[in-house]
């Protein structure tokens, strides 16, 4: 137990930092919503509203040399691991100088230097991949740990099962964080599993499991930190369940008609992770209102600056689409009917007559 005012032994600076990352997550997502409504975001927009604490708190338990594999609702984890707001914005807007040069969407990107590996859409796949990442740490005797997130829904995939079991048997230094936010798209947890809690799965893999309040950023940090320490000390895989709630729809288009009345409002009112942490900062931890407001102002300025910068970038060059499928050959040749053609789409493409397509009907 940490001394009063210093939960988990975090310095005051680090305590405020936790707030900064949560606020940055929320403000950046709010900016993305604005850009989405201006149709500047090319694809869908995925929110982590109400889940900022579990993402930030868990990622905060890692060292820079450690590697994390985020999911769609782990913007906060990526920011903690060094992803920048301007990268996020450019990526969503499919800019030429975005982290994936316009190849992948939303926050599907990574950087092994800073220690995060981008997910792919098929759920669960990152669990075996992170088993392999951490297997390499173990084989090389590196003092590094991996952390992989799975949603409550993704625990039903074969990839999750095979990956966590392999990592367990191989005693990989891996932490598997189940973000139990109550829903997988529209599917409530009760239709996903009969298990009473996700840590009940740990025993079936012969590994420790621990559960915490995912809307408490300190608790999320602490529980993850224990698992990280165990992994680093050679204790192998742990399962951590962070209980939280997805306050927005699966993506911005989802109207959440399937959610029982009042449920969202209740979580918003009683259990917003940022509000809760502000209360704690200003109460138990004795920060001043101004300390918090300063962070808010800094975040606003940073997101404004990032937006300006991101907007200045242009879209990728068409021919970049053919670069880097393999190390060798380094690029594909355009097909013969595209030789000497810079852009594929000429005046004839996307005519009105194709049907009854309307911007509003977009999926």
């Amino acid at each position: 137990m940490a001394a009063a005012g210093h939960p988990s032994g975090l310095s005051r600076e680090r305590q405020l930092e936790l707030y900064y990352w949560m606020r940055l997550t929320r403000t950046l997502e709010e900016r993305l919503v604005a850009l989405y409504r201006q149709t500047k975001v090319v694809g869908g927009l995925f929110r982590s509203l109400g889940q900022e604490a579990d993402a930030v708190g868990s990622a905060f338990a890692l060292e820079r040399r450690d590697i994390l594999s985020p999911l769609i609702r782990n913007l906060g984890s990526m920011l903690v691991k060094g992803a920048t707001p301007v990268e996020i914005l450019k990526q969503y807007m499919a800019k030429a100088d975005s982290p994936t040069r316009g190849r992948e969407l939303n926050i599907h990107f990574g950087d092994t230097e800073r220690g995060f590996i981008g997910q792919i859409s098929p759920l669960g796949d990152m669990v075996p991949v992170m088993a392999g990442v951490t297997l390499s740490f173990r084989m090389r005797g590196e003092d590094r740990v991996g952390l992989v997130y799975v949603g409550d829904g993704a625990t039903s995939t074969g990839a999750f099962h095979e990956g966590i079991n392999f990592a367990a048997v191989q005693r990989c230094p891996l932490v598997v964080v189940v973000e139990n936010n109550g829903y997988a798209y529209s599917t409530p947890t009760s239709k996903q599993t009969l298990a009473k809690q996700f840590i009940d799965k740990a025993i079936g893999y012969g590994i420790p499991g621990e559960r915490a309040d995912g809307n408490d950023v300190i608790a999320s940090y602490e529980v993850t930190r224990r698992a990280v320490d165990r992994a680093r000390a050679g204790g192998g895989v742990s399962l951590v369940e962070l209980v939280t709630y997805r306050r927005k729809g699966h993506a911005e288009h989802d109207n959440q008609s399937y959610v029982p009345d009042g449920e969202i409002e209740r979580w918003e009112k009683d259990n917003d992770p940022i509000t809760r942490y502000i209360d704690r900062l200003q109460g138990e931890l004795k920060f001043k209102v101004a300390d918090v407001e300063q962070v808010d102002a800094r975040v606003r300025a940073e997101v404004d600056a990032a937006t300006d910068e991101a907007e200045r970038s242009g879209p990728p060059e068409a021919l970049d689409a053919l670069v880097g499928i393999y190390a060798d050959p380094p690029r594909e040749q355009p097909l013969w009917y595209r030789q000497d053609v810079a852009s594929a789409v000429d005046a004839h493409e996307r005519p009105e007559g194709w049907g009854t397509w309307q911007e509003g009907g977009r999926k």
Binding site: E104, S121, S156, Y185, R338, G361
Partner: protein
């Protein structure tokens, strides 16, 4: 007079009518019940038919495809939704090893449909835009359909559900709400295995399916008015089994063939079609069979990239002009 409905609504109508017609038909998939599916294809089905027949499943493509097979053995007629067809890759073993071989190795009937939103041109990125038909066309024991019109979407879905074997039903998400049609009165099916002449022509044939049917039609119009080339467009509708007769007929008519598909080039179905034409109509060919396809890369997200990778009308125009001039 009946109103026009979209390609998506046509599929929903087929599901609805088949569930009414046959109590053994049921739906299985992620978020297909209360929510009505990611694209709302199954919207309203749970309200009408109940949770027993419209099952919201865990995120388990292996699980639900396998469960469908088991139920199908017992006389049920399951229809499984892949939330995006890209995730059918997860069930590749179950489909190619278990389902496709069930009748042959074990005399077990396996009447089931696996359906889902497919294809690109929608800024979906590498995992929400795929056309994974090639791997399944390659698998004896499976049937594969991929309609381009609302009428066919409905009529083929009815046939797929009534078929005594497993049918993979690819729905093109770019067409879902863009394409409309007037449904025929009554219980009308479109047979599996029969192609459609989407436009008659005499100089060059384009053999294609799904979204690129419209690329072909547009190109045909343009080639007629601007270049005086008469193009015949064949909409395959079914990819396995291929309608060899329809293919031969158009080849013998125009003697010049372009195979057009949205799937990547190498190993795509265009190769198979070219080989068949070669085998059966070599003497009738006045020019090589050409292919217009996507480039061989994962489909990127940014509009200029996606547009460059996928086949476009201008490509079709160029290829047809080359064929006509050959």
């Amino acid at each position: 007079m009946t109103a026009e409905i979209t390609y998506l609504e046509a599929i929903r109508e087929a599901l609805f009518e088949e569930m009414e017609r046959d109590a053994n038909v049921f739906m299985l998939g992620e978020d297909i019940g209360a929510y009505g599916g990611a694209f709302k294809v199954t919207d309203g089905l749970m309200a009408k038919f109940g949770e027993q027949r419209v099952i919201d499943s865990p995120i388990s493509e292996i699980g639900i495809v396998g469960a469908a097979a088991g139920a199908a053995h017992m006389g049920m007629r399951p229809v499984v939704e892949m939330q995006f067809i890209d995730f059918i890759a997860n069930a590749y073993d179950m489909l190619t090893n278990y389902v496709a071989t069930a009748r042959y190795r074990a005399f077990l009937p396996c009447p089931m449909v696996v359906r889902g939103p497919s294809g690109g041109y929608v800024r979906g990125g590498p995992f929400h835009s795929q056309n994974p038909e090639a791997g399944f066309i390659h698998t004896p024991g499976l049937k594969v359909v991929y309609p381009s019109t609302a009428e066919d979407a409905k009529g083929l879905m009815k046939s797929a559900i009534r078929d005594d074997d497993c049918v993979l039903f690819f729905e093109h998400k770019y067409l879902y709400r863009r394409i409309k049609g007037v449904m025929p009165e009554g219980d009308v099916t479109v047979p599996i295995g029969v192609a459609r002449v989407a436009r008659e022509g005499k100089d060059v044939s384009i053999i294609t399916y799904a979204a690129t049917v419209y690329k072909a039609l547009e190109a045909a119009e343009l080639l007629a008015t601007e270049h005086g080339i008469s193009v015949e467009v064949i909409d395959l509708r079914t990819l396995a089994p291929l309608d060899d007769e329809a293919i031969e007929k158009t080849v013998r008519k125009t003697n010049r063939v372009l195979v057009l598909h949205e799937d990547t080039r190498t190993g795509g179905i265009a190769g198979e079609i070219t080989a068949r034409i070669n085998e059966t109509c070599f003497e009738w060919l006045d020019a090589p069979v050409l292919r217009v396809t996507a480039h061989d890369v994962p489909l990127p997200y940014a509009p200029p990239l996606e547009d460059f990778v996928l086949p476009q009308v201008s490509d079709v125009v160029r290829a047809v002009r080359r064929l006509a001039a050959y």
